[in-house]
Symmetry: C2
Subunit: 206 residues, 2 copies
Amino acid sequence: MRTDLNVFADFRPKIPHTFRSTPFVLLGNIDPTLQMEVLDQITRPKLVLADTMNLWIDIRRPELIELCRRIDVLVLNDEEARQLTDCKNLVLAARELHALGPKTVIIKKGEHGALLLQGNDVFSLPALPLSDVVDPTGAGDTFAGALMGFIARSGDTSSANLRRAVVYGSVLASFCVQGVSTNRIAAATPEDVLARYNEFQRLTSF
Amino acid sequence: MRTDLNVFADFRPKIPHTFRSTPFVLLGNIDPTLQMEVLDQITRPKLVLADTMNLWIDIRRPELIELCRRIDVLVLNDEEARQLTDCKNLVLAARELHALGPKTVIIKKGEHGALLLQGNDVFSLPALPLSDVVDPTGAGDTFAGALMGFIARSGDTSSANLRRAVVYGSVLASFCVQGVSTNRIAAATPEDVLARYNEFQRLTSF
């Protein structure tokens, strides 16, 4: 119903020198002006992903559009994709988003999964059907973080690897919603993650 | 907003003798009392699928539950699954539906795809993202008809083939929504159908 910025209201991120040459940059969901300030401090990144939300579309639209020209991957949810582009149809919305700059657009659909659009190459992954959803808070951040973590660890920004990254993002998001805060994620072992990745394979194969 | 039964109000289906030994029965979405009358006229079917809707859950719940004991596959949409079982969570709803009788439950989610549940074996297929959705009328009937047509033609009721049947159902439903009435489906060639089946493969593989 309302976003309280709290500590973010006066936040001016200073990136430590040792972090400035990182090749993989995830611009978390803050004011696009600050996201650009972060980006200004990074030296020649290989892949930049930005997350955003309805608040910035409402009150920082020009800045968000400026940011879009400087990023490779835009992550947002279905309603935000519609709001930013004025397109009800998600395929047309993604086309508009591509035109703003990002070669890759990822549209999160919550319990309905996620869409990865790289021009005409479209990947659609359903969410894992869960009987025990406890709290969806943080699922979007978890998704983006795990997705970018997988890309950074593998160093592979190919279209096929981005598909796998979306699956890993969804795996971690599925753990996120099964607990409060980071409790369930923190309890997940690498084996749990791999098992759930394989569960996504069984869920979607035909 | 309202269902007018029209010619269905006084319809009492009489199955022609030559049809009574059909191994594959699709009970279209009519009064469950009539669906049972149809079933009474069939000799030892191999697979029986029934489609239903909110109206019958509202006014023919006991008859619908009686029907469920006599069918192999129940097809309904997500809202109807929730309404029939009083479970908001679709995994729990499917568990309740299994307990009513059908070994296989297919939950249609419109633009979000479909779920095929065979006990603990779950298949989730997203819908094909389309930029030109014209009219969704008939998409559910098309889905069920194509699904059953594929099973009947192949004669294979294995779990793996049911997954493929859901894909073929979704392929035909995707043509359905791209036109008014049966226009777009009627124009689709077998090659178009196969091409779109392969499109679903590309859409979902990782």
